[in-house]
């Protein structure tokens, strides 16, 4: 199975803590200051309530302050292929998302922002290779389990597939206890 175009989203503990304008400004500041990947542009869709409201477009991946599912969080969307096994690709997607969440936590002004480490959304942005069905879930599940055990330090997790066949394949992932971003980063390192 050629699982590529993996998206991962972590939600904010307090969605009000950062506005799309603030995220837009921060993302823009990352373009000239990021050395290890090519970031191209920012796009502002804050005029739509449920969208990728502040989008940082990169060559390999996009990052955004996302409210598409009605809840605010940071989403990483891989565009270019990644080598390795499915587990390695998943691990890479989680690690990059977490690293970006941590960067946003550091850069956000005001009282700061915090992400809910215990819940994530996993999407495969590829209807051809990963249609939203049980078959895809069965193919991904064993390797996902391994990664989730590592990510949540063995804590019990619940994996739920979002059922609408027209939507992209997506899984809601929940750990039974709270985590912060730094702990998750450590768990994966």
């Amino acid at each position: 199975m050629d699982l590529q175009r993996i998206n991962v989203k972590f939600y904010l503990r307090d969605g009000e803590a950062i506005s799309p304008e603030e995220a837009f400004r921060i993302f823009n500041s990352w373009i000239p200051t990021t050395a290890d990947e090519i970031l191209v542009d920012v796009a502002d869709y804050s005029h739509i309530a449920e969208a990728q409201q502040a989008l940082l477009v990169g060559h390999d991946a996009n990052y955004c302050l996302d409210t598409t599912d009605g809840r605010k969080g940071l989403m990483y969307s891989r565009k270019r292929p990644v080598d390795g096994s499915i587990a390695e690709r998943l691990r890479d997607a989680f690690a990059t998302t977490l690293k970006t969440c941590a960067r946003l936590e550091r850069d956000a002004g005001g009282d700061g922002i915090r992400f809910r480490g215990e819940e994530a959304l996993l999407i495969v942005n590829d209807r051809l290779n990963a249609p939203n069905d049980e078959e895809t879930l069965a193919a991904i599940e064993p390797e996902l389990d391994t990664v989730l055990r590592e990510l949540f330090g063995g804590a019990e997790t619940v994996v739920e597939r979002n059922g609408d066949a027209k939507q992209l394949f997506s899984l809601q992932l929940r750990a039974r206890r709270e985590f912060d971003i730094d702990t998750l980063i450590e768990n994966l390192s």
Binding site: R25, F27, N28, I31, H47, D126, L168
Partner: protein, 756 residues
Amino acid sequence: MTEATSWKETLGSRIPEDLGREIDIFETQIGLRQQDKLDEIIFAETRLRRGAYGQRYDNGQRFDGSRTQELNFPEGNTKGPNTAWHAPGMQRIKIPCGGLNCAQMDTLADLAEEYSDGICHITTRQDFQLHYVHIEDTVDLMRRLAAVGITTQEACGNAVRNVTACPLAGVCKTQSFDVTPYADALARFLLGHPDMQDFGRKFKIAFSGCRDEACGLTSMHDMGALAVLREGKRGFELYVGGGLGPVPHRAKLIEEFVPAEELLPLTQAIGRVFARLGEKKNRARARIKFLIAKLGIEEFKRLVTEERQLVTEDPLWATTLEGIESHSEEALRPGQALNGMNHLSEGFRRWQETNVYQQGQAGYAVATVNLPLGDITANQLRALADVCRRFVKDTVRTTVEQNFVLRWVSEADLPDLYNALEELDLAAPGAGTIVDITACPGTDTCKLGIASSRGLAGELRQQLSESFLELDQAVKGLRIKVSGCFNACGQHHVADIGFYGVSRKIGGITVPHFQVILGGRWQENAGSFGLAMVAIPSRNIPQVVTRLTERFVQDRNGNESFQDFIERTGKREFRSMLEDLAVVPAYEEDSSFYSDWGAAREFTTGDMGKGECAGEVVPLAHFELSACEREAFEAQMSLDEGEYELAYRTAFSAILHAAKAIVKTQLLDVPDDADTIVEEFRRRFFETELFFDAGTAKDKFARYLFRMHETVIDDYTQDLAHRAVEEAQLFIEAAYACYDRTTSVEAAPVVPLLPK
């Protein structure tokens, strides 16, 4: 898990053979270009003809607020001159007449999600645009579109672009007949037609069902077909040579009545004449409007008539139109009136007032989905398709005002439809009003953008929405349109209040401005084109709107239209009313003027370095150019007063003086005679290309000077004078840009640059 395969395999015979072949060829060309076996210029035209367009920063450079930064795209070939292979681009998708079915909406949503940024953007010509698309993804994207009957072929490039039509065609109360099947037939007939492949520039066609309403905008297209019935027989009043762009041209009548069966062959003949005689080398003068202006409409008509006789009979002329008179759309539900308004919510009433149009067919209505900035998310679009399945079936269209219309809604269903749309955040009222602002992509994604049209439109939309309920009825009905530059993709010329982006250098820093355009008319198929009044810094544009609308409410005579009010009050008065808004405060006083609406990039102190010294000295060239602006404005006054010769001469004088101001930056003692100014200008700024526009206009503006200097006029028509006034303004803008490019300004002009 489904076995990994390809979209080509998966979709198989769902892709029509001809479209499939076209896409296969494109796939091969991509492969060849990657191996450097296809020239980059040829590849660029190839991809453009498939709608795969460039996007801002694809030259690998981006100004980050303090310096120009290299975007180090991976090594690889180019997609065209100065266009990095790996840079994301824009994909334009043609939707003839804006007509969509639900399956197509689902597919567009999926594509936006998988290959773009989750947003489908509706353009001012009923197309869709997806941004940030990688060239390698375009082939699958095209195949998936083809499988639902959509092609991107000839969506860009020097070809027949999307054929547009009134979104109400077929359900309108004032139409002569439904133009949809004719527009659709012509679009199909011309797609890839050998006679339409050798144009020097694009060719845009629009259809309108009637004369007085605005919808089709036939006067501003390369070819406009207006439906007329003659003794019960269907035909078209046919116009050619219209267009917006930097200098708008009103289309000219070529035939009062083209019988429907003659539409295809006559268009073919027009295309052949354009292909044969139209300009090919100088892009800036290659639209058909220039050919018609050069030949005169009578001569052009004679050539077309002659050509028509030479066109070989094509059986497709008849078969393409077969059964066309019986074309009809089906409603999903029986038409039923909406009886009793008592139980309806305030939100519904407000939405109904602006977003619902009662169809010509009893019991049915058209509902407009008013999109902010023409944007809809993939999830919204997919859900909207389901709403359509519930209420209207496949009778959906996009509009040139960047909205959707749902046709054939049973009136009794309107409250349920409203509730369904509200759940999707798609029930914003105000369609076709002052809050429903049209904007081109501008600096957000367009390579040619000067100012942020979307940023400004978003800001205005928000501010006006907040006060919408309190606005006077007359103000609510006004239309605002914004373009990011003079190319006019936002159609600012035909708005009640239009804006296009320009820039001014203040104290060494470029400050975003917009030219204010007044006098345009949306009604009567783009009945008149507005003219630039004054450049105002972006930050002050909301105040421009407030002042203009308040004055309109205060001084309006009875039911006077906005255009009549502008004309009666006089542009001179408006100019002086807005003059103080043209002042740009020093950076230290208010730095917000130095960044654009919706822009995150601030000017750094490093960037400010040049502008921090003595702020009082205004560069001589700025003084002189602002005097030229006044002259151009005087020319406009003369034009309004019907003094066409004076208008033309004053406009030329403004151009000449602007040229002189520019020459003076190199040669202080420029004599006053026109020949010397033109000669020095040619030598110093034209031959050196210093005056050339950095975008696609290149030498276009400089040539205005040469042409006007050389041409002897014996008939000063309104058209000629109008064009001269437009050209004067554009030449002056180009002079400002040239000056800013070629000099390092030491002083900060913090005084108003408007002449007193």
